[in-house]
Symmetry: D2
Subunit: 316 residues, 4 copies
Amino acid sequence: MELGFLGLGRMGFNMSRRLLLGGHSVVAHDSEALRTQEIMEQGAIGASSHQDMVSKLKQSPKCVWLMVPSGQVTENLVNKVANLLSPGDIIIDGGNSNYHDTIRRHTILKEKGLHFVDAGTSGGIWGLQNGYALMVGGDPEPVKFLEPIFKTLAPENGYLHCGASGAGHFVKMIHNGIEYGMLAAYGEGYEILEKSRYQLDLLAISKMWQNGSVVRSWLLDLAVLAFEQEGNKLDGIKGYIQDSGEGRWTVQEALEQSTPAPVLTLALLQRFSSRQPESFSAKVVAGLRNQVEGDVISSGTKHSDSFCPINVPTRQ
Amino acid sequence: MELGFLGLGRMGFNMSRRLLLGGHSVVAHDSEALRTQEIMEQGAIGASSHQDMVSKLKQSPKCVWLMVPSGQVTENLVNKVANLLSPGDIIIDGGNSNYHDTIRRHTILKEKGLHFVDAGTSGGIWGLQNGYALMVGGDPEPVKFLEPIFKTLAPENGYLHCGASGAGHFVKMIHNGIEYGMLAAYGEGYEILEKSRYQLDLLAISKMWQNGSVVRSWLLDLAVLAFEQEGNKLDGIKGYIQDSGEGRWTVQEALEQSTPAPVLTLALLQRFSSRQPESFSAKVVAGLRNQVEGDVISSGTKHSDSFCPINVPTRQ
Amino acid sequence: MELGFLGLGRMGFNMSRRLLLGGHSVVAHDSEALRTQEIMEQGAIGASSHQDMVSKLKQSPKCVWLMVPSGQVTENLVNKVANLLSPGDIIIDGGNSNYHDTIRRHTILKEKGLHFVDAGTSGGIWGLQNGYALMVGGDPEPVKFLEPIFKTLAPENGYLHCGASGAGHFVKMIHNGIEYGMLAAYGEGYEILEKSRYQLDLLAISKMWQNGSVVRSWLLDLAVLAFEQEGNKLDGIKGYIQDSGEGRWTVQEALEQSTPAPVLTLALLQRFSSRQPESFSAKVVAGLRNQVEGDVISSGTKHSDSFCPINVPTRQ
Amino acid sequence: MELGFLGLGRMGFNMSRRLLLGGHSVVAHDSEALRTQEIMEQGAIGASSHQDMVSKLKQSPKCVWLMVPSGQVTENLVNKVANLLSPGDIIIDGGNSNYHDTIRRHTILKEKGLHFVDAGTSGGIWGLQNGYALMVGGDPEPVKFLEPIFKTLAPENGYLHCGASGAGHFVKMIHNGIEYGMLAAYGEGYEILEKSRYQLDLLAISKMWQNGSVVRSWLLDLAVLAFEQEGNKLDGIKGYIQDSGEGRWTVQEALEQSTPAPVLTLALLQRFSSRQPESFSAKVVAGLRNQVEGDVISSGTKHSDSFCPINVPTRQ
């Protein structure tokens, strides 16, 4: 089928390629003209602007997939594209938007007669080859209409209409939260291995674990690649971990639910710690310890005035 | 090759079967005669006692695999079997022993001229089919000698000589620690899904995640089975989580290393919490909150004596 | 000086009493007439409605202290009272409002020429005797004007103009976050004492710690009271811990700052746990453990099809 | 009464002084002769060796207080002194020994007819002035005999016979664990204050909190001193936090009890983190994130072979 596609970054470009390989007609635009040019070389119809993209869509309803950074960029693009479309048309947000925003946008677009579908997309750079897990939310009608697109993007059985508007982004958010926890679990395990009395070969262990162990997973497969490329010490990697929003939103969601999720939470907090050159909290604790155990007895404090020999109970 | 096998529980029985299927000669004994009988029906040579087992081993060196609970049971069995063997013979501990115990036993057996190999074994009930990931520690010579056994038990590339004595149990311990963290990550994620505003189908989501998602793993495959068997609410499952030792040892090892491993640690502590009908800690906090905010002002306390009107600064 | 006072709950009533004892003129109103009556018996001028209260304030600017639950109740009351006041008048929010709300209200009231001061109030039921620690935020002019009130409510050196609008509620929020952490630290420590091999007398230990120990504190004084009243087992206390908002906001603030605050966070999550009869997360983990270690090998799964005897490497 | 005193470090020296001020006769020795000289100037009887100290004790039973680092130093000293004493004599370990060691030493000394009393000592450098909280364990008879000593060292009501041998060190251990949690709670709270949108004066806030707030404590008093001496930014303090053993033992004890103590545990782990220039765990997580989201698609991996155009479901 025909799909407008806005945002040809690392994710969007490969998703467009996969759609083209699947026989779909893609009308694509990116704010960088070079990216638009490159996807045209893969078979897409290029568009010079959002308006041009919309005008080149010939089927009805028009369907436009957005694959841009969440937050203000998505907000602006949704509004702009909505103004170019007509009742019955469909906007799909494939990015990592907060589901609260998605629900809000869905409501606003509904008032204009537009459909708004959220499609949480997992798979990273491997999606081109393996397909993208798609977590879809929205009204049944447009979701049904988009099925051919979802079937091409996803591997077999790799997409799900999770529920009403926002459900796709919600499930994708939790998916990323779980990813945070799993990554931290591996990270901590490898650190204890690395610091052991044994000279352990983390690459060899990872490869062995890929076969028959309880902890085998796709992330473990990536650990094998990481140790292959960077060596057992990961010398080339800086221990500085970004977070992209969804792990943090997962923790915030848990807080709002009053759900205790200590493992997902600590996985996030460790990322914060990894980005701190020095912790003020640690300075406070160190400073208080100095006060408890230091060798200078300050005078003039509220503590010192209580001491005088007569306060000491005498011999009995 | 020929192998003595002691301990035909859920793990040991299937491992023996796999060895028999692989064409090895297994002389097996279990303290329950019925289990010995059953493995004989699978092709093993039965032994009526430890001594009988050892006497039926014809090749040299004699190799005896122990698959019994860690701790005192393993301790006693190692000592007993060691007394039945001759210099050059090999004992393999395939159980979940603490690696400190393993190193100690290795040293003691070495003085008797015996080899002691540790083989941390992962795979659970699935090992019969899929093979067991084997994490092996010990001296090179006996480990090399046992390779045909390891190759049959493990799937392809599924065993590794990790290092000196104890290294196998060490790596297996960390493996289990990581498993604790991964399980908790999934558990918390599913709980947030379950409590969301959406009526999410956890089984369908799990199946979708199996394909193309970042969190796909063998444990996720098991989640699919669990939701299939127990339903999305897991009504038949009690939220009471045992721990078997290795997760706890992982945390203790991290503490001894001064390695911060908050995610693995919290995964363990949540298991503790799951087993507490009521937390005394929570009672203390609730009791103190009552004191701060309760509506009774106790008299006769150290706080009450400080109040009298003249302590209130007067109007100015 | 003269002060209107709205909200004569546990906190508000005692604060009014303390103001009256300090010689101020208090015009008070509560939605429950009985409470208004009771404070009149303590010397206040009673008001039958918000409007009546405002009309009975004779000095200029009129100052009205709100002591009501945060959230919608405070929102409504701020709006209602603001409509009754004139430019230059002052509203003080002494409740536990979220500082974001406070900043917003300050901005809105400023447009009407009204002053809005936030006064985070600590001290619980003990404040009447000991005074209330007051954390004040807002513009310098109204804060300065209110000093006589603050001086009466607080013990000596017990109030501070922390900064611009919201700073008072912000500091109070963090104060409560710290309280969460301290309470949890005591709670956990007492639980380990309680479960030790010794028959420890928690009351006696608490009393001893009050004198010379590093952990002596006002909360420890309350622990003494709690153990005195409830006994060492706290039998009468349910291990169910409410949270009032500010501890949670502290954690949310830390998340927004990307500040790792694991201790304050876990203190909050433990409160969540205390309120869960059963953890769904624990059910998931228990269910997955069953799958790994259970004794039933399901057929028809993606795992089972990989097993057949010829997959087992044969004897070599 | 008369007391032998071994170990005149920061703690031991001041304790000896307090005993002398209280009218006791102290026969003191330190491995550094200068320290022995200094305590003689305060009124103690100096001893040139352990043997000399014991021989100068004239009363019976002889009582010797040890105030030396825990672990091997204490172990050696207990053994040495025990060999110099006679049945009925008393050794007191006032240091931070692990209570398991204490129980073991008590048993061994009992066989020799000697008494062994443990006295966990809190108060740091402030103990000279304020007295030391003393947590005492051991048999009733020697504990009773030592009461005059305890009464002088402790402030009023500041010592407690907690229970049998080890109970004193056990309670002191938990006391320190609680201290870890409290320090971390303050540290994290101050960090959130420090990073807020407001320019908050941490010293002024701390001073205000000393009066009437819920979080007032002796440690808060020390925070006031720390900010006074080091400034609100604590520029002179390195965020590197030592741990002395007892906090770690508390966590280990909780693990052995299967008691969830997440706040005390995280307080310890944050100390570990403060001492790591870079986290290997963070390197692993960062490395895996690179693999998920990086822009290089590796060839020759187990993932890449699954991709070819015909795997993409075609247009429908």
